[in-house]
Symmetry: C2
Subunit: 704 residues, 2 copies
């Protein structure tokens, strides 16, 4: 099968490039002449990453817990700095003092109908030495309010707005109660904000085996899924309103910066919040009375019928989780561009990862950090051998991503002007590996680019290229950070960018074309004590070959962006997707009986769709003009005033939802949902203007 | 809400019948003059059924197990006969000697990796005295092969063809193994035949909590669903090939009839087969190794990850389940027609139910039998008061339905000629009640009829009419005996007739327009020891008001068919549905790249669709001609040669699948699936001829 496919592909390439004498077609953005040199550089790069070295780096990064703001995190930051320095890249450590949060006391008890002490630590597994660690005993949510309370419990399914609506229809009052919600189908911060709005007194969020336990597959250590005692730590914070240090919303937390009081923050929860394992949650669930869950989708994977309550189960919570200002440390490495034109050489291809973790970071994020260090080594090696990139490559390994995307956000806010002028793209790799299938979220203009890059990387299991495996996947990405992009072709799907990692400030705030990618796979120990080196060795990437493959893939992507004659952004794909988004929003308006005129936006989207992929034709001056336009076109899609209600989010085509997912055309869409005719019209006009700016710029540069 | 709806309906009726002076529109098939008398009769009927009497009848019928061929069943038959005799109807008991099957030994043991004795009895519940009954201790399948064997186990999900295909793709060989299948999504006989074809040595079918246990809702006695120890008895027999006594396939088992040897039967299984409870099956499931279930849909409701094996779980089966010829007893009651025209008076409206049960028959079928006896009492009462039906009403309460639809099939075969000439319709009620929502399966021509009848019956919970509750149901029927009919309107859905009850011989063999209906609801104790009077009192129909409502509904339906001026069959609905079936079969052919010419069949279907509902216009002679055509039109849709491979099934529009479900246009459809071009063409021609016969007849009678 594979042989036949490869042959067919080669044949069609021959037809496509009759003058090429059988040579490969140049990558998007490269002239035939530059392509040869680029192929040499990529061949050299792909030969460098070593799975064994990735394994060793991973073992070092994950040897102890390294929560942001702790000594463990400082040690990892210093180690990352030292490793990057070894590669020959320019390095620096950049610190900010930001509001974090740490647990002193987390007590949870079922008090009625019988006393059961909950909030128990995760089980020690004889097979995994990392599962014994006293400092990780407490289940907690960063930024939770502290306090004591005892109340009846209500089971609220996923804790989304429609779940509370369903309960209201059943006549169940959640006010003053403790809501017990399942994880997944929504970000924990989104569930908390919804609970607050409904008058809930405290929120318990637990890991149901239906989502990440035995219902999905064998549990750790036999398989990759979560045992019944695992719980999911994490921040409970409303950073879909504005991310970064809660005390400096919208500006950098540099020395002397203005800080708002905590009480003025719009992102800190006003209720108690705690995660529990299924082992703990089932004690509560099985003690609930009241109606049977109102819909089969509310039934979890426990071996009993779920009831909603309220009560007779009563729970006591006692939480002491102080919020504290502490120092975080971003580590930055830089490989300066070599182009003779300083305007080009100073353009930045940004590679992005973070180093802080809730426990050991086996997957999240130390797989990505190990990959980043191995890639930096390879780039340093190439530079020493004379293969320096034309544009500058900057690698940011951020701190406190797990809190509010804090490290990247503060740095992005500090350098917003420079990034706006110089940033070509942001390639974010958070976790690099939890399995063997590529999963990509990106702007539509980078879709073809990623298809080409993935064709370049051999699959470590010998199943053809990474692209071949990606294309054979009939499911969508397992992570659910975004919905799939509108365009439907035979090619692998690329998701749209939600929020949930460090590209957010660069993409949604500054307008830098962005992508986020990993090798994905079954992974049920997210943010649990089992997210360890041992898990990765046994389950996620035995042999660490996908870590090394990601270093190659990330590196090829970086070097194509850094060396391209013309930036490989296909705005015609953007235009086609925009037409689909506009169709969807119009359908929503019809459904809500709202009048919305998206004709002007549609016209501009069609202009973009008509552009075609970027051409390398013409002389250096033409290409320079085209590059300038391509560099700035994504910025055209932002607006300095941002979205209504959340001005930090400036991108008009995408914005994160409280669920990690992305929504498209958020300004118009939210105005329709709020039934605000005047706002619909203003937002439709903003959108059309943004698209027109981009279309004007790109058409002009294309000489039309 | 209800008041407003009622008003709106009255308003539109006024518009529809301006001459009626505000009176109700006559029911389908009645002239305005006859409608007044019919309304009186129906009002008298609806006033008669008593919930208290239904409860008492139900208690008597269910006081002991009454499996066909046992003394318990004989006692129930005699009681039914005696009760019917009391009503004043003409009664008879009709016996046949037929092949049944009874368990002497059922031993099931997990032997590897550890010894666990399985096939344990259902748990005794302190709340339900019926749950203590030594004669119901064994889990067994009637007609299973007897024998001893020990083999590795393979989990085969639902045990359908596609499940075995999935296992084959995983490289798992099921030959000689014991297959462990979940109940549901297919009839147990269908699973057995598929297992035989795949070379499986024995089949264990178990009740997974995902289908009828705690995943669905609270288990008995707290709720209506099955506890973990319940198991589903039943026949394992291939009566979708030919039902009735396996020794007289196609003819009646009357004294002196030819009997084939067992070895020549096409319907008796050639493998060992046994049902198990989840309590037992989980011992095997949790001992299985091999791959994790290949698809999430294979994961059941147990609190562990399902694996497929084979082994290391090994099971020993030892079954002694002799097949024996025993006597079964149908009870027949008759209320002769009063029409002055003997041709009309001798026409038969057939009411159908059975009296044998696997355990107590709490739902299946004694709810229906109690309802039937209460209805018979009401009909006898009306007759005494001078309200005799114009046409003859026959009530058949069959025996051994649970084996192979045996009692009804033998009687139907014995009286096939008379039924072909005289039977107006078959109204089958197996279980009458397991909840509070009407569920109807019927030929399309009876759809409007049932909508009208349901409007006539008040909902016992005061939610308007039975129709109103039915129309507010956004789900499909819970039973899954058939798929929904093609027509999509705002009116309640009517399913198509599959097989699974006693209408089969009348509908599929003789061509009598048929319907099957019940008040449906959550019911997880089917064929288990918990299907008792106690279950019905606590869960299914506390107060037995829906039993009484079904006596009214069934009675109104019977009396409308018996008294109608023109038989209320709307063949235009049949025609519209046929067009949908033809579309579907054509789509299937395209998908399989087969050429099929259904143009002629489509033309005939459109002729039927153009007929409109039956008119009561014209004089007595016109109505007589119209009635003759309406009486015979369903017979036109049958063919004496039957379907290829199963000649007993003569209806060309519907036939049962091995799954209880119905398929439409079975001759053409199966020929397409078998890729048999010549057969496709012959079957398409048979279909077109059948439709043409009906259309010719109905058009001629309509005077077109």
């Amino acid at each position: 099968m594979r042989t036949a496919c490869t042959r067919a592909a080669a044949f069609s390439l021959l037809l496509a490039t009759p003058a090429g004498g059988g040579e490969e077609r140049p990558p998007l953005g490269f002239t035939a002449e530059s392509a040869a040199r680029q192929r040499e550089i990529e061949a050299a790069l792909v030969a460098l990453p070593s799975a064994a070295r990735c394994e060793s780096l991973h073992a070092q990064l994950t040897r102890a817990p390294h929560v942001a703001g702790t000594d463990g995190s400082r040690r990892v930051a210093e180690e990352v700095l030292w490793r990057l320095r070894e590669t020959g890249l320019e390095t620096e450590m950049v610190s900010y003092d930001v509001l974090l949060s740490f647990p002193r006391r987390v007590e949870v008890e079922l008090v009625t109908p019988r006393l059961v002490r909950l909030a128990r630590p995760e089980a020690e597994l004889p097979e995994d030495p990392f599962s014994r660690e006293a400092s990780l005993a407490l289940p907690w949510h960063a930024y939770s309010k502290s306090g004591d309370l005892t109340a009846d419990v209500v089971y609220v399914n996923r804790g989304q707005a429609e779940d509370y609506d369903t309960l209201a229809k059943l006549g169940i009052d959640v006010r003053g109660k403790i809501a017990l919600a399942r994880y997944f189908a929504g970000y924990r911060g989104g569930k908390s904000l919804e609970a607050e709005r409904r008058g809930v007194a405290a929120l318990i969020t637990y890991s149901d085996p239906a989502e990440d336990g035995y219902v999905q597959g064998d549990v750790y250590p036999k398989g990759p899924w979560g045992p019944e005692t695992h719980f999911q730590r994490g921040a409970n914070v409303y950073d879909f309103i504005v991310p970064g240090d809660p005390l400096t919303p919208g500006w950098a937390s540099v020395a002397g910066a203005r800080r708002i009081p905590e009480s003025e923050s719009k992102v800190l929860p006003r209720i108690l919040s705690v995660p529990l394992s299924f082992q703990d949650a089932r004690e509560i669930l099985q003690a609930l009375g009241g109606p049977v869950r109102p819909h089969p989708a509310w039934q979890g994977g426990g071996p009993f019928t779920y009831h909603v309550g309220p009560g007779p189960a009563q729970v006591r919570l006692s939480l002491d989780i102080p919020r504290e200002v502490r120092t975080i440390r971003n580590v930055i490495a830089r490989l300066p561009g070599s182009d003779p034109d300083p305007a080009v050489a100073s353009q930045v291809v940004l590679l992005s990862n973070h180093h802080d973790a809730w426990t050991y970071g086996g997957v999240d994020p130390s797989s990505g950090t190990a990959t980043a260090l191995e890639l930096a080594r390879a780039l340093g090696d190439l530079a020493r051998r004379g293969m320096r990139p034309r544009r500058t490559i900057v690698l940011g390994i951020w701190d406190a991503e797990e809190f509010t995307l804090t490290g990247s956000t503060e740095w992005g806010e500090e350098h917003a002007e420079e990034l706006r002028a110089k940033a070509v793209a942001c390639l974010n790799v958070d976790a690099s590996t939890s399995g063997d299938r590529l999963s990509v979220s990106a702007v539509p203009s980078l879709r073809q680019f990623f298809h080409e890059v993935a064709r370049r990387i051999p699959d470590p299991k010998g199943r053809g290229s990474v692209y071949d495996v990606w294309a054979s996947d009939d499911s969508t990405s397992g992570r659910g950070y975004g919905v799939l992009a509108g365009e439907s072709t035979g090619e692998p799907k690329v998701a749209i960018l939600g929020s949930g990692s460090d590209y957010t400030v660069f993409f949604n705030h500054v307008g830098v074309p962005s992508a986020d990618f990993l090798f994905d796979g079954p992974y049920g120990v997210y943010h649990s004590i089992y997210d360890s080196h041992e898990w990765m060795r046994r389950q996620g990437d035995p042999g660490f070959r996908y870590h090394a493959a990601m270093a190659s893939l990330w590196g090829v992507a970086a070097l194509r962006l850094a060396n391209a004659d013309v930036l490989p952004f296909d705005y015609s794909a953007y235009g086609r997707d925009l037409v689909v988004y506009i169709d969807e929003v119009e359908a929503l308006a019809r459904q809500r009986r709202m009048v919305v005129d998206l004709g002007p936006a549609r016209h501009q989207a069609r202009r973009l769709a008509a552009l075609g992929p970027p051409s390398t034709a013409g002389g250096p001056e033409e290409r320079r003009r085209r590059n300038e336009a391509l560099l700035m076109a994504e910025r055209d899609l932002t607006r300095p005033e941002g979205l209504p209600g959340r001005p930090w989010f400036r991108h008009l085509v995408y914005a994160p939802l409280p669920s990690y997912a992305a929504e498209t055309l958020p300004g118009v869409r939210e105005a329709i949902i709020d039934n605000d005719t005047a706002r619909v019209s203003a937002q439709a006009s903003n959108l059309a203007q943004a698209l027109r700016r981009a279309a004007d710029r790109l058409e002009a540069a294309a000489g039309r």
